[in-house]
């Protein structure tokens, strides 16, 4: 499956919608402090950013529709599928770290990643699991950062 993305037009529309929405919710999301400390309003910097994003988005839309200046990116599903799947696996990895801990989550996730990448030799699986244990103890004992242990008793 292949399709072409008019990146100027699409990013222009998406960013315009995003900045418009963020500007719309600004009064609720960024409240002005009850008393005046002499400091500038907390809305200034985000406000400027959103307005610049909106202006740039409009410029992109005009470039695409009026001046026909476009950068077309071909989205090839066969090419993108591995990247999307890997990102999805990494999101699940985060979920698993929170639920069952770093070591078990790493063992499960990277077994899946290695299988997906076509690795068949057992050594690489053993190496990866050993690495997960090593990194866990490196952070816990050397860097004093307690990575989530999850259901394991340490």
């Amino acid at each position: 499956m292949k399709f072409k993305i008019k990146t100027n037009l699409v990013s222009g529309i998406l960013m315009a919608l995003f900045s418009g929405y963020m500007l719309y919710v600004m009064p609720k999301q960024v409240k002005v402090p009850a008393y005046d400390s002499g400091a500038p309003s907390p809305r200034i910097i985000p406000g400027i950013c959103l307005i610049v994003i909106l202006i740039c988005s409009i410029v992109l839309i005009i470039e695409s529709l009026v001046f026909k200046k476009e950068k077309i990116v071909e989205f090839d599903w066969n090419n993108e599928k591995p990247a999307i799947l890997l990102i999805a696996i990494l999101c699940i990895y985060v979920f698993l770290i929170i639920k069952i801990g770093f070591i078990l989550a790493s063992a499960i996730t990277f077994t899946v990643v290695l299988l997906y990448c076509g690795e068949r030799k057992p050594f690489i699986y053993i190496f990866t699991i050993a690495l997960a244990v090593g990194i866990y103890f490196l952070f816990t004992l050397v860097f004093h950062v307690s990575l989530p242990a999850g259901i394991l008793p340490f």
Binding site: S11, V30, A39, P40, L86, F143, V145
Partner: protein, 562 residues
């Protein structure tokens, strides 16, 4: 120069601990730099969690600079042995490095690269040492108004030179600023765009953002490539033992000097990185060479020009970072992030308030460049073998380390959630052809910019026109606009020229390869013909012997009969 501070800094740099860090950093940089698809930025990001608990922030920065220096040289190892640059800054190294390697002179090419890298690195590190104090004195009268203007300059220049579209780069930069605004405002205590979420309430830490935007995206890209190619690894040229001679080293000195000087000037300009500098230096050295026709065919001057330029950028890119607080490229943007994570704000005040630390970092950079030569000499052969290691071994290790490092930012699982979310955002931006370097820079610069903006506003009673009324600030803003416009034009031209040059070189390499293949084919055919001739003679002899032997056999057989 302040010699008292330099002496103190030298004493602090030459501790066993710092020297060990420099050795380790150089080695890690060389390994990461030589793997195509993994950049120096990834190496620096991987070092960030390691440096979290370091007592001396200067040691942390020295470690990262050593990775930067090692990575710049490491990029040339795969450029020479594989014809695939390990980093973007080593593209021009393939022009002459690979042809020389194809001639069987891999060690010579690597030696030239190491010598030129060391020369370029030392040249710019010395320049950094000499210039830092001068620039700092020149900008010592800057107030928060000017610093805010400098922040705008930094983000605009990076936006101006990254990607092909200015609106897209600006969107990216502004998204970065906006993302850094999320959470509690440090001045008023007001919550900004947290949407009632616990994950967003305390803001987005730079570390998970850096990990997701740069490191994880690179690993995902490389794993995708691995999966699509079935994990095939190109055959690397074997390293011989015939290195560079003293005479040859002398002959490439002018090229090294010229290239280092040009690259140091270019590298000190915010927005120009090693990627741009290498081509300009290569072209200039070729133009002024006595044998320009040899370039692209395995000329040592060509390798020297490319390699001394990319290492010269390391020191010179630190000039605007240390003296003005403006990062010159993506790598220095990351270093700025590292400075901030360690509670240091680079700029003129750093030289007055934390002068010893500033000089310790500069001397550390100098020492890393000095040590690059012996370490490169001793370990290049071993490091080159890493290219042949299956990527899946490294990828899993890097991903685990990245998530563990992201978690270390605050020790809370929200960092992991943010890392995953920013990874998805980064992928969407890539699909939309929006470069994420300005986004990262925006995130890094926002706290500094907002700090100066608030100080300036409060000092001038919220008179925002002060940013254009103060002459120095106005001049900085005008220079920003002029530089963005001119650099966009220059960059377009340079990119077009580079693309042409790369295509021409690729065609030449292919031609060279096919010519060599043809020669090899002829040799093989000749060898085959010889072999078949020999075979036919052997067959004839065999047949003759066989025929003559037949009666013997028969006789023997007969003899064997009872």
């Amino acid at each position: 120069m302040d010699f008292t501070m330099i002496t103190q800094a030298a004493a602090q740099t030459f501790t066993l601990y710092n020297i060990a860090l420099i050795f380790g950093g150089l080695l890690i940089g060389m390994v990461i730099g030589c793997i195509p698809g993994l950049s120096v930025t990834l190496g620096i990001i991987l070092m960030l969690p390691l440096t979290y608990n370091m007592e001396d922030a200067a040691s942390a920065i020295i470690l990262m600079l050593a990775v930067y220096v090692g990575g710049m040289y490491g990029g040339s190892i795969s450029a020479i042995t594989l014809n695939t640059p390990g980093t973007n800054s080593a593209i021009a190294t393939t022009f002459d490095g690979y042809p020389l390697a194809r001639k069987g002179k891999v060690k010579k090419a690597l030696d030239v690269s190491l010598f030129a890298s060391t020369f370029g690195g030392l040249f710019s590190a010395l320049l950094l040492l000499l210039c830092a104090q001068l620039i700092t004195k020149a900008v010592s009268k800057f107030t928060s108004v000017e610093y805010f203007a400098l922040g705008i300059m930094g983000i605009s220049l990076i936006a101006g030179v990254s990607g092909e579209s200015l609106p897209k780069a600006l969107i990216s930069g502004m998204l970065g600023l906006l993302m850094a605004c999320i959470g509690k405002d440090s001045v008023t205590g007001v919550s900004r765009y947290a949407f009632g979420s616990n994950v967003l309430r305390y803001g987005i830490n730079i570390l998970p953002a850096m990990i997701a935007l740069i490191a994880l995206m690179q690993v995902v890209d490389k794993l995708r490539e691995f999966r699509l190619s079935g994990g095939k690894i190109k055959d690397a040229n074997k390293i011989d033992s015939d290195g560079m001679t003293g005479k040859e080293a002398k002959s490439i000195l002018p090229a090294c000097f010229k290239s280092s000087a040009i690259a140091s000037i270019l590298g000190a300009m915010p927005g120009v990185g090693g990627g741009v500098a290498q081509f300009m230096c290569y072209n200039e050295v070729r133009r002024s060479s006595k044998h320009p026709e040899e370039f692209g065919k395995g000329c040592m001057e060509g390798i020297a020009a490319a390699e001394s330029s990319n290492n010269a950028v390391v020191g010179s890119a630190m000039i605007p970072l240390l003296t003005l607080g403006i990062p010159g490229d993506g790598v220095t943007a990351l270093l700025l992030g590292a400075f901030m994570l360690h509670g240091i704000t680079p700029g003129p005040t750093m030289f007055t308030k934390q002068g010893v630390m500033a000089y310790t970092i500069i001397i550390g950079c100098l020492v890393a460049n000095i040590f690059l030569y012996p370490i490169g000499k001793a370990l290049t052969r071993a490091v080159a073998k890493v290219i042949q290691v299956r990527y899946t071994y490294l990828a899993c290790a890097i991903i685990m380390f990245c998530f563990a490092g992201a978690f270390a930012a605050s020790g809370h699982v929200k960092e992991l959630i943010l890392t995953a979310a920013i990874l998805i955002l980064s992928y969407v931006l890539t699909i939309l052809d929006i470069d994420n370097t300005p986004l990262l820079l925006g995130m890094i610069l926002e706290p500094i910019m907002e700090k100066y903006f608030v100080s300036a506003s409060m000092a001038y009673d919220r008179d925002y026109s002060i940013f254009v009324r103060r002459p120095i600030s106005l001049v900085i803003l005008i220079i920003t606009v002029v530089m963005v416009i001119s650099m966009m034009r220059v960059n377009r031209r340079v990119n077009a020229l580079n693309a042409e040059q790369e295509a021409a070189m690729a065609a030449e390499h292919e031609q060279m390869g096919s010519a060599e293949d043809a020669v090899r084919a002829v040799e093989t055919a000749k060898a085959d013909a010889d072999a078949s001739f020999e075979d036919s003679i052997a067959d004839a002899v065999f047949e003759k012997e066989h025929v003559t032997a037949k009666p013997d056999v028969k006789v023997n057989k007969d003899q064997d009969k009872p």
